[in-house]
Homo-oligomer: 223 residues x 2
DNA sequence: ATAGTAAATTACGTTAACAGTTTAACATTT
DNA sequence: AAATGTTAAACTGTTAACGTAATTTACTAT
């Protein structure tokens, strides 16, 4: 039938252009292609992506409410420059919310989640032995698992946003060489505590983990 | 000088229309003028406010990223209906972040903040004696004070957003008759703990306060 | 009378054009 | 040569119009 083909086509194309632009720009900022202070000129972007200015503007407004860019009235939008102080503020908030998530996950752990945790721990072990693996992917899985286990989608969403925010403005993408392995081990400890339903331990481990991450970031950015 | 006059004039008119529309719509949602499920038709709003659709759209996009409305592609935007579960999720997050703020405030308390706290406590006492006063204003002052004392603007901003969110979708504006006085007393306890630099106490009081607020909300919404 | 279909209406998605402001270059004057 | 005034280019803010998809309405045929 033609209808089905048309449906799959429109389905693909149903997402407004603004969403694609938003994804493109956010990714570019997260990857460091656009750096703090860079101007994002609507017409330039419109020509580059071969669309009109409107979807660009709409994407920029979304980035503005998430503080990735700031718009100066009548002047334009620039990639936000962020102070070290603000990053430390976010680390503090992250510590609070991540430990909450860990505690909730430990409270609500069940057989299904436990199985998922076992699988992820096994993958982490393998990565630690083989000296690497895809740490980024493991990190994503870790966050997804905790988010699901905590049973609080709103919390998960906020955590994702906050981590994106930190990542964008601290160039944490290529983290410290020794730190990734350490982080994996810390994740293992947290997952183990959650698996056993030990709320207090899961929360403490998470707080320690975030504190170490913060120190690693600070020692790096002071160079 | 002409320059100063011109400056104050442009200052006034510098804010784009979209900001005014955003303020108008958000206020309307917070006041309950637009309720969950109501459609917000761009053209209708544009005619009502005597402007074109574009600033309307821009304001709606901002409201969308803050989850006050949701837009269905090709259909339009409606005021978000929120589940009870999600409100409870937000209460949990609020408890975590507010207790963090209270702890930080207690850590960083100084003479200036202590003086402000004393003044606010005196106002609360007066309100409690006179049987009321402007509780809403006292609430705002309480939040501003804690936000300032905690020295974490990002945290303060998130708290404001989350509270707006809860307020919009729980019709908490006209709270329970007995609850406002109780809340004022709890605020007093928290402020006292902060004033004395007692971190643990400030955090505990805040957790208890939020837990009571949650229960009050739940008992109310189950009617 | 009902069901199915076609037309008209509605409303969003996008584009293009216009208006107003800011920035920058340039010329003029001291 | 420096400073100031003027002009032009660039960019955002806003409007209006067009295209398209979805919904509703009305009409026709059974």
């Amino acid at each position: 039938m033609v209808a089905r083909m048309a449906e799959s086509w429109t389905q693909e194309d149903l997402s407004p252009i603004r969403d694609k632009v938003y994804a493109y720009l956010k990714d570019a900022i997260l990857r460091g292609e656009y750096k703090a202070g860079d101007r994002l000129v609507e017409r330039v972007l419109a020509e580059k992506l071969n669309i009109s200015r409107t979807p660009i503007r709409e994407a920029l407004f979304r980035l503005e409410t998430q503080r990735f860019v700031r718009t100066v009235p009548r002047k334009g939008v620039v990639v936000n420059e962020i102070t070290q102080a603000e990053i430390l503020e976010v680390f503090m908030i992250l510590a609070s919310l991540e430990s909450l998530a860990a505690r909730l996950a430990a409270q609500k752990v069940n057989d299904e989640i436990a199985g998922d945790i076992d699988r992820l721990i096994a993958e982490i072990d393998a990565a630690l032995d083989n000296g690497g693996g895809d740490e980024v992917e493991l990190n994503v899985q870790y966050n997804e698992l905790i988010g699901r286990a905590a049973g609080n989608p709103k919390l998960h969403e906020m955590l994702v946003d906050l981590k994106d925010y930190v990542r964008a403005f601290s160039n944490l993408s290529s983290a410290l060489p020794g730190r990734t392995k350490e982080a994996l081990r810390e994740h293992k400890d947290i997952l183990g505590a959650i698996r056993n339903g030990e709320e207090d331990l899961a929360e403490s481990f998470t707080r320690i983990h975030l504190e170490k991450s913060r120190k690693a970031y600070m020692s790096r950015s002071h160079v």
